[in-house]
């Protein structure tokens, strides 16, 4: 039993470490995406400051809280940026995915581990960018002790949902070889719906209801809103409960889709 756990751990650690080192290798690209998020924070905070003017509270947000929210959510977004979709697409196209499947560690676990390694690596760069983001936008400590404790949990759940979604998108490559356009489309729409430029409570009417029903808000809005105390008390637990439900749902869906994709691979390589 213990050797089994150790072996599994070694697999996860190995993949995560690999991606961590890859991030260090591509440091210029990561730094520039962190820098870009600072430019984006600059614009967003100015836009929101301009529209707020003298208003106090809109949709439960005062300007100060909103600025912290926007700064945080965009820094988070750099950590959430995924490469699992790209990894799987490339490996399927070239055919090396066969080696991945032949390994004792399940492909999906390999991908999650790689994404974990990447996100941890990117975290370091985000911490470098954070002082600039705070200067351009604004950062503050968590709203209260409860927020400080629940924020990491909410962020982790959101990260997992984001990763599962990204892998699901990547699996589409088993049916269509070239999905660059589709991936870009997904990233753009998912990024917006997660609340990186507008907190999801601002989405009007039916649009707002739909966004509320989709899983994307957990990957951006929810953790940041927990941090600034926009979601607090029992609502935090309820929201996280929903996040867990989504993780189970997406996990099930992923297992189903992967089962089908797997058979597809056998046919192609057979």
């Amino acid at each position: 039993m213990r050797t089994r756990v150790r072996r599994i751990w070694r697999g996860w650690y190995g993949y995560a470490r690999l991606m961590f080192l890859t991030v260090l290798q591509y440091r210029v690209a990561v730094l520039s995406s962190a820098a870009l998020s600072v430019v984006w924070i600059l614009l967003l905070t100015r836009v929101w400051t301009a529209v707020y003017g003298e208003r106090g509270l809109v949709e439960g947000f005062d300007l100060e809280t909103l600025i912290v929210y926007l700064t945080l959510v965009n820094l988070q977004n750099v950590i959430m940026s995924n490469s699992v979709t790209r990894i799987i697409t490339e490996r399927v196209r070239v055919g090396t995915v066969l080696f991945d499947i032949a390994r004792p560690m399940p492909l999906i676990s390999q991908l999650i581990a790689q994404q974990a390694g990447q996100s941890v690596g990117v975290c370091g760069f985000v911490l470098l960018a954070a002082p600039f983001a705070a200067l351009v936008g604004g950062l503050a400590p968590p709203a209260d002790l409860g927020a400080a404790v629940t924020y990491p949990v909410a962020l982790t759940l959101g990260w997992l949902i984001n990763t599962l979604l990204a892998i699901l998108v990547g699996l589409a490559t088993f049916w269509a070889m070239e999905i660059g356009g589709f991936t870009l489309l997904y990233q753009v729409v998912a990024g917006f719906l997660s609340g990186t430029s507008v907190p999801v409570v601002f989405f009007p009417g039916v649009f707002g209801v739909i966004v509320e029903l989709l899983p994307f808000r957990f990957t951006g809005y929810v953790p940041a809103a927990v941090y600034v105390g926009q979601i607090d008390g029992v609502a935090v637990l309820r929201t996280m409960g929903w996040a867990v439900v989504w993780i189970v749902l997406l996990g099930g869906l992923l297992a189903l889709v992967w089962g089908r994709a797997y058979r597809k691979v056998v046919v192609q390589g057979g």
């Binding site: 614009l43 100015r46 529209v51 070239e178 356009g181 589709f182 870009l184 601002f202």
Partner: protein, 294 residues
Amino acid sequence: MARPRTLPQREAVDSPARAGRRGWLVTLRRTIRLYWILRLAAWRSALQYRLNILFMVAAGVAYQGVGFVFVWVLLHSFPTLAGWGLREVLFLYGLRLVAHALWLVCCDGFQLIDRAVREGEFERMLLRPVNPLIQLATYERQLDPFGDLLTGLTMFGIALGITDIDWTLWKAVYCVLAVIGGALIEASFHVGVGSLAFRLQNLRSVQLFIDDSMSILGSYPHGIFSPRFQWFLTFTMPIAFIAYLPASVLLERTDGLVVPGWLGYASPLVGVLVFMLAYRVWSWQMRHYQGVGH
């Protein structure tokens, strides 16, 4: 070790001295003709992958469309953005996007400069009797810029329908020139950054940064920024000239500017000047080209 080599003299093939008396005109006509031949060839090649084209164009539409949905959601809760209503912001957004798409549709291959240098393709370009800049411009075989163009024209078209501008011939001419000027400014940034390819291996992230920064800082009324930052966006990084100043002129909103209103009329000229400057930098940096040993 790559050995430094001197450039084949580009002037030798298309210099005014060689091309005869009305040299520069002949050269220009020849360059434009060759540009079209190369451009059409690249597009024909892109048209081979039909399904992905559809997605790429759709992605281009979504990428730019989502940016505007942000403004739409925003102005749903609030009446104006720095005094600009939804229609006016749409006009500005559309104008910027058309300028952006114009540069991309014409010259997007230029973004592949680092790859061309790294993989030795640039060597081939130096040997052919066409300006390397033209060859690079026509190098890309993707069609997603047409997604940008589609979105830009649609937005701009809608904005034209709902904003009340007294169109005169002069205004229309100015508008077209401003779009060309805006495209030239965006191109200049890319040509300037691209000239770093002779010294750096990979420019992709720098290019993305420049590209996104221009779309982030160029598409909104600059009244939201502090006056000092507005000066910066006008004189240091001339992003204001891409669309904000022209839109201010056309919408008669020059009274809100931190710079003199007449400066807005100069936008097309600024485009030409900035591009000339970028071309100078490019030609100067090209001398530092070293073959990769092919």
